[in-house]
Amino acid sequence: MPSISLRVNGKSVRAEVEGRTLLVELLREKLALTGTHVGCDTSQCGACTVHVDGRSVKSCTMLAVEADGREVTTIEGLAGADGKLSPVQAAFAEHHGLQCGFCTPGMVMSATDLVRRNPGATEAQIREWLEGNLCRCTGYHNIVKAVKAAAQAGGK
């Protein structure tokens, strides 16, 4: 079985995985990082979005072996060590950017990638960027508001 080493939320991790083990399975089942959700398992809903070397990816559509040697950040890695929410997380709370919360980790990870790369993102750019993340509750309005606020605040 392939052995891989990577960094997850700043910590070095070694794991034995099968070739077919998905990154999301490694995170949830081996590392108990269950903040990353599996929604559709068909790379459409974005609930499983994490960062690999700083870029948002759908962890249900990436093999764990492909994360060997990479830096992975999950929703658990965004807040500060003191528990202080990241600017995007804080904006989601402030603007009520969630209802049931299932899609939220993926939304926050995706939005975090956007505001880092395009801090001046317009509403249209935010809506286009979030096309890979589905929410069945909010109608997206407050999510977009939250991301816009975080972008304007220069959130990371």
Partner: protein
């Protein structure tokens, strides 16, 4: 997903060697098509050979009158590339609207071409620009590369290394995207350049194809209204719950006109 042996070769020669020795092996690019296909059990390779990170497949450069894009470049890298935006802005725009942001961060040019999904965007660009697909062993003209539904001229152990796009005078891509998947219900790329006037259609048929009547009309006069008299036949086009063949035929006309207007 059925398990497989995973290989991460250090160079292109080793990757080709692994594919040659294992007839049931498949090359893995960004996995945005292959992994879903394997999850569905539609493919069950014995081995996966990871190629997207190979140095030989990386890089973007202008070489004379061609833009050369490494097959391992992700859609996001192509969309954000200053060289691509300058040389062929239509190609950067096309890459920036493939799937969604997460898919664009993983999916690669070579992977998209080797998979040859009938609704994929890149095949339209490769065919309309008259590009050359470069592999580990040969160069394949776009007109010879695509062979219909998920079929290409590639051998089982052949790896796409780069694509050479002749820099056009004008080009644009217009897509009527499926709202959920962002795949093209119909996508039309038009180009006027070293390869002549070419119109390539994706999403509408069993594979990407050129629209000869439109090429003739635009060859005579490059303007959206030059396409007014071109009738697109529905025969042979895809029909599914998202759109009938007649609807797709209509969309080909609309997308082609939009693309010509956008190309200026």
């Amino acid at each position: 997903m059925q398990d497989f042996s995973f290989h991460k070769p250090q160079n292109l020669a080793a990757a080709v060697d692994t594919l040659k020795k294992r007839p049931e092996a498949k090359a893995l690019g960004g996995g945005q098509s292959l992994i879903p296909v394997m999850k569905l059990g539609l493919a069950a390779p014995s081995d996966l050979v990871s190629v997207a990170g190979l140095a030989e497949l990386r890089g973007i450069k202008v070489d004379g009158k061609e833009l050369v894009v490494g097959a391992g470049m992700t859609h996001a890298e192509v969309a954000d590339s200053a060289e691509v935006k300058k040389a062929i802005p239509a190609l950067a725009a096309l890459a920036g609207h493939i799937g969604d942001a997460q898919v664009r961060n993983r999916g690669t040019l070579g992977g998209s071409l080797a998979h040859d999904d009938p609704a994929a965007d890149y095949p339209a660009a490769v065919l309309a620009l008259g590009a050359t697909v470069v592999t580990d062993r040969r160069k394949i003209a776009a007109d010879d590369f695509f062979r219909g539904l998920y079929q290409t001229a590639l051998g089982a152990d052949e790896i796409v290394t780069s694509v050479r796009f002749p820099i056009p005078e004008k080009a644009a891509y217009a897509k009527f995207a499926h709202p959920a998947s962002k795949f093209a219900l119909v996508g039309v790329m038009v180009a006027k350049g070293p390869a002549g006037v070419r119109v390539a259609v994706t999403g509408a048929g069993p594979g990407v194809f050129r629209q000869a009547d439109m090429e003739r009309a635009l060859g005579g006069r490059w303007a959206a209204d030059a396409l007014a008299g071109v009738a697109v036949k529905a025969e042979g086009l895809n029909a599914d719950p998202y759109g009938s063949a007649e609807y797709r035929a209509h969309l080909i006309g609309v997308m082609a006109r939009r693309a010509v207007a956008a190309a200026g």
